[in-house]
Symmetry: C2
Subunit: 225 residues, 2 copies
């Protein structure tokens, strides 16, 4: 059963449910409604439909969880999305703050054959331009990163692993700072009372808000040096 067995709407719901579930466990109606920009009432209706299709398990008032079948489709859509983002950035030079919007549309009409061709042309990449992992053809996906830039303490260094890709303006800001996946970052100072972090990137120092730093995942954390 290829993706095209399901409507674009169903694909988008499953994708969002997957994302929320990763972060929060069971998916509440309102949270899903906010993410999708639909009314809670509409979301209830669609969740019931997904449950009837055996794509989610649903208990009224208790939220929804993906079934294995639903998760498989979600991962397939996410694979399309991230492969396309990577392709647009690499092969067509689309700026990284624009690839998301383009992929959002294309992901639903990509054939499996074209998916494979794109994968091959790119040399079977494992991450999208924002550092997010691309699910394998078999639906495998590494666990999410656990450490964020805002979790680091003064003096610690790390490698940028992934940045949030939903706000184009924030992505342009990240690009300005040099805050891209693979970049080395050092936390020079952490202001108290939830204040900004001072970080060093490419030998330049920048003050960044605590909240923004929460949208950056890091790995390879080392202390001092």
């Amino acid at each position: 059963m290829p993706l095209s067995e399901h409507t674009e709407s169903v694909q988008d719901y499953l994708k969002s449910i997957f994302d929320i579930q990763r972060e929060h466990g069971r998916v509440a109606t309102t949270m899903l409604a906010e993410r999708l920009g639909n009314s809670p009432a509409s979301v209830t209706g669609m969740i019931k439909k997904l449950a009837a299709l055996n794509l989610v398990e649903y208990e009224p008032y208790q939220g929804a969880v993906l079934t294995p079948a639903g998760e498989k489709i979600a991962l397939e859509v996410i694979r399309h999305h991230r492969l396309i983002e990577r392709y647009l950035a690499e092969a067509l030079g689309v700026p990284w703050d624009q690839v998301h919007a383009e992929a959002e549309k294309w992901e639903h009409v990509l054939s499996e054959d074209l998916e494979d061709r794109i994968d091959a042309v790119l040399g079977y990449p494992t991450t999208d331009p924002h550092g997010a992992p691309i699910p394998g053809r078999d639906g495998t996906l590494p666990p999410p990163h656990t450490t964020r830039l805002c979790d680091l303490q003064s003096g610690q260094s790390a490698t940028v692993a992934e940045v949030s890709d939903h706000d184009p303006a924030m992505l342009r800001y990240f690009a300005e700072l040099g805050l891209r996946p693979g970049a080395d970052v050092t936390v020079v100072a952490v202001a108290p009372f939830g204040g900004p972090l001072t970080v060093r990137l490419d030998n330049a120092e920048h003050a960044v808000g605590r909240e923004v730093a929460g949208y950056v995942a890091v790995c390879n954390v080392t202390s001092g040096g």
Copy 2:
């Protein structure tokens, strides 16, 4: 007003109306219904909607004709379609009997920005892989070819200009024969009573049915030699 102002359905209707209008003038309900695979009743309904949007002129029982606004959108969709076909064939190696189906889906979600990037990467091509002209950004399109392979007489040579792209099996047949845009073809013999043509391509001779030869447009016709 970008393409996305109109539904995919509207885009497909306008494209088909444009195609039919080129060949037959005023577009009859039934012919459009056949092309789209919809019932005539549905087509009547949509034509009335298009007329309300000022995209076609419509006289009940007399068929429809595109307005300038409708034609502009049709040409825009066709430009997307043919650029995408070309891109898929050239950049991703999609076989020429498969590009049509893929482009049919992608054409509706292509942004103007990505359209420009693809155009540039391809070096501003003027035809798709089947020889059909790609409308310019400004909506210009050369007049259709007037001579078909089946119109040639014994002894005449010509250059293949364009082949029909709607039947993948026929495209594979054309590829086998070497009947691709730009190829030189000579008509060696024409059987009487609507019989087959014998044609020479790449120094090999083939008998092809009169009907199939009607799906091949030619140019640069020369007699004898």
